[in-house]
Amino acid sequence: MLNCEAQVITNTPLTASVFSLTLRLPFAPDSQVTPGQFYMLKVSGNIGLDPLLRRPISVCAFDPLTQTLRFVIRRVGRGTTILEQLRPGDPLEVFGPLGHGFPYPEEPNTHALLIGGGVGIPPLLYLAQELSNAGVQVTALLGFRSEKEVFLLDEFSRWGTVEIATDDGSLGACGNVCDLLENHLTNSHWSIAYACGPLPMLQRLEVLLGQDQRPVYVSLEKRMACGIGACTACTCKRQHPEPENRSSLVCTDGPVFRLGEVELDV
């Protein structure tokens, strides 16, 4: 993990509220940037410290040749509005990569199921790319509110099969992504699954896949201040608190956990 001032290369809207931000790092990261890891983005710029805290954002793509980092972000408040307004050439301080990403399958020639909801989808695109390049077959189940809010669909199609669900049925199946997942529960083709999305989606996913013997990994989100384990804000209870009632931190122990490892709550 390193802190540096990156430069905005492009910043383009994908939907009315979701945008794609690419940055060039001034030097190579000190470690591999793996899918599921995140960076802390300093939204307050170079003058003043308001909004105060950095925003933890998962990596959507990283190109080590050009040292280009991509984030796909939804505007939800002050910090993300500032990020949305960045223009090419603008500086942005970033700190990372942080946390543990998605573990890759141990065996080659496997089939991975990726399950993403809304703004939880971007880190799965990076994962789809890396898995596909490693010879893993990818099926992505993606859920959005409506057709208008669909993003990254074409890019997922490059790396595998994609199934879509929208809450209003305007594109793909009507329902949420867990409805799509129900069709794959008894499907024996996939041998590993990865999920990222809103808490209610992950909670339902845990009901559906909690007893499945195949490995399932989920990426969690929690309010945090530092991203490196110092503030202990993003704690989560372990489902099997061994040893000595230890809790886990989303920032350093996660954000990716094996399903069943920690309790899924706010």
């Binding site: 410290l49 308001d50 105060l52 805290l53 929690k222 490196i228 384990g229 110092a230 009632n245 709550d265």
Partner: protein
């Protein structure tokens, strides 16, 4: 040539007045991966309680204008793990290590003080009677001059090292508490702890913090902290570690002019993990600009008409 940043904090000699504030630096290990901790003036580690403490339910932080609320709830692995595993790696740094101690009863404080102050190389204790985020202990001891004096006296009686008492701003008269703990034998004061506050999610009609209320920190509290340091400095003769919203070298000078002999940086460590070395590097040129050869010249140097 003498070190222009050196300060004396009671019996502790600091190479510079800059240290992390308790609770914002863990036990140092996260930041030790980023830079050499031996360049700091001192290190103040997270509050330690007798038993492991789980802390409060999440969400534990909420951003507010120019600040943040936290309700961590003193999460820590407990006295045994802290003394055996977390403190020993800090001792070889050669800078004063100050351990923040907390508890739910006077017996807790005594137990932690006794054990921690015996760990070889620990320079001082910081008595936390001001945590707003735990139901028992913490602020219950810091809101009343008599109780604050009692716990100070009891801890002083068992501590092998100097005791700094960390004061809360959530009181009617901080000067009464400061003078009471000074009379009870405190070697110094740390101020301020966080200001109690809250934030509400209007769509869910719920508090954002799992604990409902939490402590406000960051630049938003700096004017309040400065005022309290200024008031307490005029009333006591023991050294003060000033803190509350410090983010840059200029802020350090403000606190020292108000009467702080050393300062602690808290929340800013979360925003910029390299903030402490940055502030330390920025101080010498700022002193030159201000025309002083030693930072000690500025302590309490506020000019009042």
């Amino acid at each position: 040539m003498s070190n222009p940043l050196a300060v004396q904090l009671g019996s502790l000699s600091l190479q510079n007045p800059v240290m992390p504030a308790s609770g914002c630096f863990g036990y140092g290990q996260e930041f030790a991966r980023l830079y050499d901790l031996s360049q700091l003036g001192a290190i103040v580690v997270k509050a330690t309680t007798p038993q492991p403490t789980q802390g409060n339910p999440t969400p534990r932080v909420a951003e507010t204008p120019a600040g943040m609320l936290n309700a961590i709830g003193l999460q820590n692995p407990g006295l045994e793990v802290v003394c055996q595993q977390l403190l020993p790696p800090l001792v070889p740094l050669g800078i004063p290590i100050i351990v923040n101690i907390a508890g739910a009863s006077i017996a807790d404080y005594i137990e932690v003080a006794q054990v921690v102050s015996q760990v070889p190389g620990i320079a001082a204790l910081e008595l936390n009677i001001s945590c707003p985020n735990v139901k028992q202990g913490g602020l219950a001891f810091g809101a009343d001059p008599d109780t604050a004096a009692t716990v100070t006296r009891e801890v002083k009686a068992v501590s092998a090292v100097p005791v700094f008492v960390k004061l809360s701003p959530n009181v009617t008269d901080i000067v009464a508490i400061a003078t009471a703990v000074e009379a009870a034998g405190a070697d110094g004061l740390s101020l301020i702890n966080t200001l109690l506050g809250m934030a509400i999610d209007i769509r869910r009609r719920q508090p954002i913090l799992g604990n409902i209320v939490g402590g406000l920190s960051g630049p938003a509290v700096k004017p309040v902290a400065l005022r309290l340091v200024h008031q307490v400095y005029q009333a006591v003769s023991i050294p003060i570690i000033g803190m509350g919203g410090i983010t840059c070298a200029e802020d350090v000078i403000e606190f020292m002019l108000a009467g702080a002999r050393a300062i602690a940086v808290g929340t800013a460590n979360f925003v910029d993990p390299y903030i402490l070395p940055k502030i330390i590097a920025d101080l010498p040129p700022l002193l030159t600009e201000l025309g002083v050869s030693s930072i000690t010249e500025l302590i309490g140097g506020l000019k009042l008409a």
